[in-house]
Subunit: 352 residues, 4 copies
């Protein structure tokens, strides 16, 4: 079968693979729609995982084509979504409460280097009963794709933050993940939501999803701007979904928050030795500004919860899919679009 792969650091292209086979609790899925993710860009062009050749892509809605002998709740023909991470569920890490790090830190990222990903004719899903979710017919594919990474990652920025009703939240970076953090913050009861970003498509979407104020990098230091906007108070929560370069977003987040606050990171740092905590604004170590950062939760239960948010009209992620291609062969076009990031792009999606 054909797949679109990372060939080496900095290079992508089509390769041939054998069609995968399921183990007793696994499934083989044919993609119906896939999304291209900024994190794919980091992995291929920054190379934090080293030289690897594997089929890329980790965002997919699809159709089950084959299941292992022990799979109970899914069968060929089922329309499904699968999380960008697919943990093994029988580990001590899961018993500790950390399915995301089942098998070791970030080891649940199987589609990204552990095995082939989803930009292929077929892909393999470990532990189907635990990692797949049934996709209701009423949810179109462009939305479904967002359930696999953009929604859980953006919303995890919110889950990590401790947002109380009416609090003021700043979301740094309003690409597709940050936009879902904006939407998630509104759905968590935030009052004022300040989005940090510049590109018009993103700014417009941020307002749609609940941003009450927009701050641009172009207008000066963002921490200063946010502190001014809040009359010197700073924000209760800052969610970092951008500003990866040198950890600048994280550093600004720490600067713009109040004593007694949470900084929640869902950005992926692919380069550099260290990320900087500004000593003074961190209260000389004593300011009670808690810094959290973690990869999205996954598994069927969480997928079902996000499906419910869409199904019950709490969230409409369709604004993210600004560029929709048809035909697997257009993955390449969609990929380069994501790489070049034209001003009107939020996210490119390919319907197979």
């Amino acid at each position: 079968m054909k797949g679109f792969a990372m060939l080496k650091i900095g290079a992508v292209g089509w390769i041939e693979r054998e069609k995968p086979k399921p183990g007793p609790i696994d499934a083989i899925v044919r993609p119906l729609a896939v999304g291209i993710c900024t994190s794919d860009m980091h992995t291929v062009y920054d190379g934090p995982l080293g030289e690897l050749t594997f089929i890329v892509g980790h965002e997919a809605a699809g159709e089950v084509v084959e299941v292992g002998s022990e799979v109970k709740d899914f069968k060929p023909g089922d329309r499904i979504v699968v999380g960008a991470i697919t943990p093994d569920w029988r580990t001590i890490d899961v018993q500790r409460g950390w399915h995301q790090h089942s098998g070791g830190m970030l080891a649940a990222f199987k589609f990204t280097g552990v095995k082939d990903g989803v930009f292929a004719e077929y892909f393999h899903v470990n532990d189907a009963d635990m990692n797949l979710a049934h996709l209701p017919n009423e949810i179109p594919l462009e939305m479904a794709v967002m359930l696999t990474d953009m929604i859980p990652t953006g919303f995890h920025g919110v889950e990590l933050a401790d947002i109380g009703f009416g609090m003021t939240v700043c979301v740094i970076g309003i690409g597709p993940v940050g936009l879902m953090s904006v939407a998630g913050a509104r759905l968590r009861g935030a009052g004022r939501i300040i989005g940090v970003g510049t590109r018009p498509a993103c700014v417009e979407a941020a307002k749609y999803y609940g941003a009450t104020d927009i701050v641009s990098y172009k207008a000066g230091d963002i921490a200063e701007q946010v502190i001014n906007l809040t009359e010197g108070q700073g924000v209760d929560v800052a969610i970092v979904a951008g500003g990866e370069k040198g950890g600048e977003g994280l550093s600004q987040a720490i600067k713009m928050t109040k004593a007694g606050s949470t900084i929640s990171n869902v950005a992926y740092y692919s380069t550099g030795e260290t990320l900087p905590i500004p000593r003074n604004e961190w209260g000389l170590g004593m300011g009670h500004k808690t810094i959290k950062g973690g990869v999205m939760p996954a598994g069927r239960y969480k997928l079902d919860r996000f499906i419910d948010l869409v199904k019950y009209n709490r969230l409409d992620p369709s604004k993210l899919a600004t560029h929709v291609f048809h035909g697997m062969e257009n993955i390449e076009k969609a990929w380069y679009l994501m790489k070049e990031k034209p001003v009107d792009l939020i996210k490119s999606v390919v319907i197979f």
Copy 2:
């Protein structure tokens, strides 16, 4: 000055009082609008606090007319709201984290029996800097009144519950408090929200505020109905805002929730010796169904947060004020309306 008072258990009427005077950190407020509360009915007609004579009412927006010498942030002429409970803030209870019980369990309920309430020409507020909040001009009085009790109480039902994104929540009782629990659950990220109630005005409002399903007492046992609706699963969270009689609502809530869930109570039980926990459905003591119950949080910080929710268009409480009277003298009419509860009533409000 004139005030509308509980005269004894079962009786209300107008009385004369001296105009109150502020201590050094207090304020005197002239009501601009007040709300009649179901809890007033409990207090007067069930008599759980015993025989008392005091001016009733604890929901008011108003104008400051006098402040003590040490008040810093408020001055005569300021438009304000004040919480239904007004704690003292310099106590060990506050240091323990329980301003609601500052001075003893429920002792922050000063307007309800400790001193005169707000259905008067003027009323007294202890610790003005800590218990008042400035009311923005853009918030009309009918909404402002809801900030003092209906929103904080209904939302506290949500705060006590541990609602994760996409969870299924049942709100038992969709009077004004329950409606705000519905709205709060949606704003906290619930997926499906099942409202339990019957009166058409309430049902319509529940749908407006986010209920996806309605269950009626008239159609049979509500726990059974909810369990059927959720295909035998039960709900993740039940918020009890009604069914006070014999603790029936609380009992049903325990029956309809999953193992590993939260039952959150904001109902006020004015009669009876005990409230029943159904043994079997509580897992013989081992089902991890956590039962919480507490009075709303108050103070300026919380008031400001709820004001922000209204100001930033996260919440429109205006649907609650179905019956608006003009003129202080109409408190009496508004009171009896609340007592009789006609089918089209959610809440009666009086604009002075």
Copy 3:
């Protein structure tokens, strides 16, 4: 093989069974030591689970004699302990965070009625890699047996409670579970610990494990006594490990706690329709007295944590095993001792 079984409600005796066989991820274990549990008495003599015939017993240290083909971390000859509950780990309930209720409320209690228990020549353990833990040689069998139920259950009473450093805790019931709640409360940083009980062996052990005060049912109402002892304040946390009859212990716990507190239940209620919440002391529904109750956590990770507590000398559970028998045939004697509860008994253990 031989096993000691519940024959019907109210009757126990020896029965013959086939030696169990492991599935691919399971293990067969030969007991080295077992403990008799009060909950066995409830199950057999109160009959809350109905008429059943099965080998009783759920507390065992043992030696692995056979493993399934997929078991990785255990092999015949390994010395192990296994939790009183043995969940399946690939379920939505586990993804929700509730392994104790994997497969439904309390469904992880496999040894108690779902399949045969441990009072046998051999017993079966589902998912060995997830439910067994290696038993270090330095931990003697009398202690090891306590790791399976008494420690996790008693300590779960503490885990459910929200004990801050220096808080005052009351433990109602100082049988073996309550004693472990006392020990756990001390290890969680409690200041004053009030134990409620009467039998001298238990009182002495309670003091050894950290109780600073003892209150006896015989000296009057225990809530009153505790409130007097604390100069009218009440306690911050009450852990219910006794007083099951009519829910009296739970009711007293609610009465003796402060506004803003936690009542944590690890008692097993085997009879009655409802458990009573005293309305007035629960603050008319508004007192912020949170009521929790749940079965112990299990699985290898938790077992290893409790093993570490013993290994690093944080906890010495050996005081619980007041009556130690040798030889499997003495299970019967140990059983009836537990039924009769002589004054010097805390717990009976049988070394095979």
Copy 4:
């Protein structure tokens, strides 16, 4: 009156001041015993607060000599302790839950630069009813002094961390604060506790307080040593109470913890622009290693809790006071001892 003061950055000496006077809710206290703190060294010799002249010292047990007209619970002659930080309690920050930052980040540090500290004949305490605690006679002064800063700060390292029963904890830095973190971790239920330090007096005390292993900076990279000790797993929690230079301790803490863990900082960073988060070991931003840091909690309620820990023999802080001087004039000697840190020093205390 006389006081021992910071004169300018790098210089200390005796100065003359007027005896302070209490406001209506304040108290004047005569020290009975004071402790010299490492943070005094940072403030004077690193100068993070800038050029200031004020009486130093923030650790004192004393006797009330005068109270304001509104003070209710304290009177001249009362033996008391007072926290190192003394918040104002009527602020929005307190309502937000952050008394430590009442009036702004770290603004509760009144003794350190906002007003004169405790190394004087008398000192002033704002809000006596909220910031003092009665000192029981059975607690000797050398212990009492530890209740004001060493215990609350060291234990706050533990409070910030999320230690479950039997977890493995590393405490980086085993000076007096770190030793109290060791003691606090044991009292919180940790299993294995690894202390990082070198000086023999500290190593011995660490073992006394509960350390099971000691790692020395001198034997190589501490993160590597800790990871080796734990067979490659890393620790569940790291508490940073040392290694301030360049944030080295914090950085090592992040390196030595598992995915899904807490790093808790109570170190005071007095120099440098930024503190480094190691990118790779922080999981590229996604490792769920939560970084917390905050100043100790204070106020009467917390002081009383720590007093209870000492009173009920949960904690014996007397090992910290290795060097006890008598006579106020010996503050100078005690100060320089703390500055020079001889190998047998943990903490110097002066009894007046």
